[in-house]
């Protein structure tokens, strides 16, 4: 129904002031600045926390299933032991991920009623679908984790497959809703009320394909590098047996294969931003003035509407963003200062993401090179050190990428349609909620890390009946 959908109207030259000034249905509240800040910080905290867990929820089941499958195929008990181990950690991560995700669905309304009250229905379809996918995930996680000794090995392996599919589907649906906030399409607004919606058009908005792909691959990278780094640390401490080698190699291989693909997808995503959200691209690159043949800024700080101390690669940005050294890049000057995202945050977050992405690519290349030559891990202890750091690097790349997406969208909650300040809950005292949530998340973080470290250490693994052959094995 293209005729019914509205155009996003995101040409930068159209200016923020005159586009989409609806908001008649939502009073523009005079806000306490601290409360808007608190709401944003609370959302950032709970989302930034959940996104790591969600990545493990999407990536870890696949890697665990590969280990279980290899165990069945090869009869190598180490694989099965690894699968058991990972399943146990997955149980903890999944539980924490499920509850931290639930909180987000509360917070959508608690913190941003101005958005949900009007646009909740526009993004309702992907969330309904996500609900189904998450339901399937939760059901099969229950079966997979608790029925090792109730199902035959083959059925148990198959019970894991829906977890992987539903996890990837969940990520797709949730990120498609977020993509809509970047590139809102598929609805018409009249007097502050949504009068017609094309829910499929909203879900499959132009930002959806690159954003969802980028996020799903990121999930596998975070899970793969994260799991590998645990075993890299153990190997650095001298545990170089087959169990630890496989524990390193399997997830690291998965992540290493995906990394170069992710770099390509990242380029696609950046092109999409250049087309759909030029203001965000300008903030990512610290471009203030519109022009042709724009250089790429490495590092630097934006001061008084200018990038200072940056290393400039001539024509670099024009070339990267549009494959043309003379392509025009829209600068931040095209929108009023009040409509610009915080440049330094977005610019640096983008730089950090790209830097870690390429560092991980180098690690992947190192592994591939040595494996081709000698069918073995690189011998240098620096490889293990790099692998040990790769989990942290992947998480930092993930978080900074998320900052680029979300902070780069500001001051809009729905890009060029609704301001964040119009969407926030005007009730007083959001600051106290934020403090409370922060304390709870601090405790949750401490407890999660503690429990996972205990799990990784010296607890003997309970063994299912079909695995008697390794019942004597205890990982110390």
């Amino acid at each position: 129904m293209p005729g019914r959908t509205r155009d996003g109207g995101i040409e930068p030259s159209s200016g923020g002031a005159k586009v989409m000034c609806h908001g008649a249905g939502i009073a523009v509240h005079v806000l306490n600045g601290a409360d808007l800040g608190a709401a944003r910080m609370q959302m950032a905290l709970s989302l930034g926390w959940h996104i790591v867990l969600a990545c493990f929820g999407v990536g870890m089941p696949a890697i665990t299933l590969i280990a279980e499958w290899r165990g069945h195929r090869s009869g190598d008990s180490h694989y099965r032991l690894l699968a058991r181990r990972w399943a146990k950690a997955m149980g903890v991560l999944f539980a924490v991920g499920a509850v931290s995700g639930t909180i987000l669905s509360f917070e959508m309304g608690l913190l941003w009623p101005g958005m949900m009250g009007v646009y909740g229905e526009v993004i309702g379809l992907p969330f309904s679908l996500e609900g189904i996918a998450f339901f399937i995930e939760a059901i099969f996680v229950g079966i997979y984790l608790y029925a090792w000794d109730r199902l035959p090995p083959r059925a148990h392996l198959l019970a894991g497959v829906p977890i992987v599919l539903a996890g990837v589907a969940s990520a797709f649906f949730v990120v498609s809703a977020n993509a809509w906030m970047q590139r809102p399409t598929g609805f018409q607004v009249k007097d502050g009320r949504v009068v017609s919606v094309d829910p499929w058009g909203a879900m499959f908005n132009p930002a959806t394909p690159p954003m969802t792909t980028h996020m799903i691959l990121a999930a596998f990278m975070v899970a793969g590098f994260g799991m590998a780094s645990v075993y890299a640390v153990a190997m650095l401490r001298g545990r170089r047996d087959r169990y630890h080698r496989l524990g390193l190699l399997l997830p690291l291989t998965v992540a290493a294969v995906i990394t170069p693909v992710q770099i390509g997808v990242g380029d696609w995503a950046a092109h999409a931003v250049a087309d759909q959200q030029p203001v965000k691209l300008a903030a990512m690159e610290g471009v203030f003035r519109t022009g042709r043949g724009v250089p790429l800024h490495l590092g630097g700080i934006a001061i008084d509407g200018e990038m200072r101390y940056a290393l400039e690669l001539p024509y670099g940005l024009s070339l990267l963003a549009h494959w043309d050294p003379n392509a025009e890049i829209h600068g931040l000057e095209e929108v009023p200062p009040g409509d610009r995202p915080p440049v330094n945050v977005v610019h640096w977050a983008f730089q950090i993401m790209v830097a870690f992405g390429f560092a991980l690519l180098a690690l992947a290349a190192w592994l591939a090179w040595e494996w081709r030559r000698r069918r073995d891990l690189p011998r240098s202890p620096w490889f293990l050190r790099a692998a040990a750091a790769s989990g942290v690097a992947a998480v930092l790349a993930l978080e900074s990428g998320w900052v680029v997406t979300e902070v780069g969208r500001q001051p809009w909650i729905v890009f060029r349609v609704l301001r964040t300040s119009q969407a926030v809950n005007p009730a007083p005292g959001l600051v106290y909620g934020f403090v409370l949530v922060t304390v709870v998340y601090l405790l949750l973080t401490v407890a999660t890390v503690y429990v996972l470290r205990r799990l990784a250490r010296d607890v003997p693994v309970p063994v299912a009946p079909q695995e008697r052959d390794i019942s004597g094995y205890k990982v110390v």
């Binding site: 949900m116 309702g124 059901i139 009730a427 959001l430 409370l436």
Partner: protein, 334 residues
């Protein structure tokens, strides 16, 4: 039935499932709290953990389902409820974190102090969360949430006679359902002493929840007369009667040790309350707001309901497999 009505019905089915399944998981936490010292309560806690473990996450998804369908189907109602009731909802959200995370942590912990710490967090949150969710229900039922963003009283909307009664009733219902389910689980595990313990609790708790429901009606009469009238002499009367009859039957069946049948009647008693509220309040989700005004556009309703129908084809067999796997007798495998 119009699309908004179907959506509302589906929403209420989801809410019912959440109360019957997710509620019972919270109730498990309540009994965990009351199980006694680390030694004496050990076997009860083990039974509770064993019963909840595989299913609580799937049961919990019903809540997400309800939230998401509310904002999809009735966006303005969702925004009004969430913004006015942000205090109890924030506290419930934190309780959900504490319950789920601590339960998972306790399961993999081995040392006593950790099991105690996580266990206490799990059990405490299991009491607090249904209470706050109940106050939210009471706020909506008593018409204290006006349409608009944060237009209602931020405290009075959920701290009032109807809300507090509803909160207490939510905890009571959760605890009651849990001990009804646990009695049969204990019987299947062959633990005669636990069967007796939970049977006794089910009887006491059943009487208490029945009394609390009666008190609730008196409170409604004073505080929310419209809903009271519907429940006692209007459309919702048959559902109230169903609840009363099923509740009494549950007590009798529990007394006669019909542990499977009582699951059904206990669930019916709770359903009677929930659907009685729903029917009694229909068709105005919030005061002065008609369902059609509040509902999303038909395109959204059709797409979401259609997706749910397709999803149900995948979901229902999966759910059946989950419950069948873990409700089956363990036989000789252990």
């Amino acid at each position: 039935m119009s699309l908004p009505e179907i959506m509302l019905a589906v929403l209420w089915v989801g809410l019912t499932a959440y109360v019957l399944f997710g509620g019972a998981d919270f109730g498990g936490g309540v009994w965990d709290l009351l199980a006694g010292g680390a030694k004496t309560g050990h076997r009860q806690r083990e039974l509770i953990e064993h019963s909840i473990g595989p299913v609580w996450e799937a049961n919990h998804v019903w809540l997400i389902f309800v939230i998401v369908l509310t904002w999809t189907g009735l966006p303005s109602v969702f925004a009004a409820v969430a913004s006015t009731l942000y205090i109890p909802l924030t506290l419930a959200a934190l309780g959900i974190i504490g319950r789920g995370a601590a339960f998972a942590f306790r399961k993999v912990s081995t040392e006593l102090w950790q099991r105690r710490l996580f266990g206490a967090t799990f059990a405490f949150s299991s009491v607090v969360t249904p209470f706050f969710l109940g106050t939210v229900a009471g706020a909506i039922a008593s018409g204290r949430v006006p349409l608009g963003i944060a237009r209602g009283d931020l405290v009075g909307s959920w701290l009032n006679p109807t809300s507090v009664t509803a909160g207490a009733l939510a905890v009571g219902v959760a605890a009651y359902l849990a001990c009804v389910y646990l009695t049969r689980d204990a019987q299947r595990a062959g633990a005669a002493d636990l069967v007796a313990a939970f049977r006794r609790r089910a009887l006491v708790c059943g009487v208490a929840v029945g009394a609390l429901s009666a008190v609730g009606l008196i409170v409604l009469r004073a505080d929310t007369p419209d809903l009271y009238t519907e429940l006692t002499s209007g459309r919702a009367l048959p559902l109230l009667l169903l609840s009363v009859v099923a509740g009494l039957a549950s007590l009798a069946l529990m007394w006669w040790r019909a542990y499977v049948a009582v699951r059904l009647t206990a669930a019916l008693a709770v359903m009677g309350l929930l659907w009685g509220w729903g029917v009694g309040q229909y068709p105005a989700p919030l005061p002065g707001v008609s369902l059609d005004e509040a509902a999303a556009t038909d395109a959204v309703l059709a797409a979401s309901l259609g997706s749910l129908a397709v999803g149900a084809v995948l979901l229902l067999p999966s759910l059946w497999w989950l419950y069948a796997t873990f409700q089956r007798d363990r036989g000789k495998s252990r």
